[in-house]
Symmetry: C2
Subunit: 121 residues, 2 copies
């Protein structure tokens, strides 16, 4: 299945598939460390990305619950949930709006398997 | 200005901003080497990307004109021009279809300069 990866470059910030996936996994796991591990990212990198997102937005996207260093949990704030929702909507809209041209581009590719050859059933 | 970077993941191939820019620069410069240099890419890498694109599509996207190794020129074939056109249309459609959500997301960002604070004129 053809998918889109989409990165948005704002004036002073960037939001793309990596940050969206990190948010999604923090939401699911309740932990920045666990989310990072699932993405094969060091704890430090996951934590830095989380900090970067919190600093970039007016409202923090990720809230940490009390606990020692490396302990405690994390969850998405309302703003975090909303950012994820908007990003997913942007992706869905982009894919729907470009479906025809994506299909045209796909049709110009070498078939990767015999099943892909048009006219063959 | 907010921009989108968009990578399309087909079943057996990938097309994104880097390949699009390389095609565009080959079109403008008439040379794979020059296009690569403009993108601060080694000649080997530019050449490999060109070969990869030619192999992925039914029709080659880039045609090389005769000349010694490192010499000779290159130009986009009709298929190459069409792939660039489709990619640009996908990008334009995606941006237009998501304009509202992109603006919403932008509005949630920390203003990067005082001029960006809503309500201030």
């Amino acid at each position: 299945m053809t998918t889109l990866k989409l990165r948005i470059l704002f004036d002073g910030a960037m939001f793309g598939p990596g940050k969206a996936e990190l948010l999604e996994r923090i939401r699911e796991s309740g932990s920045i460390a666990a989310a990072g591990r699932q993405m094969e990212m060091s704890y430090k990198r996951a934590w830095m990305l989380a900090e970067e997102m919190n600093a970039a937005f007016r409202q923090p996207l990720i809230a940490r619950t009390r606990g020692g260093p490396g302990g405690g949990g994390a969850h998405l704030t309302e703003a975090g949930v909303e950012v994820l929702r908007l990003y997913q909507a942007i992706l869905d809209n982009a894919l729907a709006a470009s479906a025809d041209q994506i299909a045209d581009l796909e049709g110009m590719l070498h078939p990767s398997s015999p099943a892909d050859i048009p006219g063959r059933t």
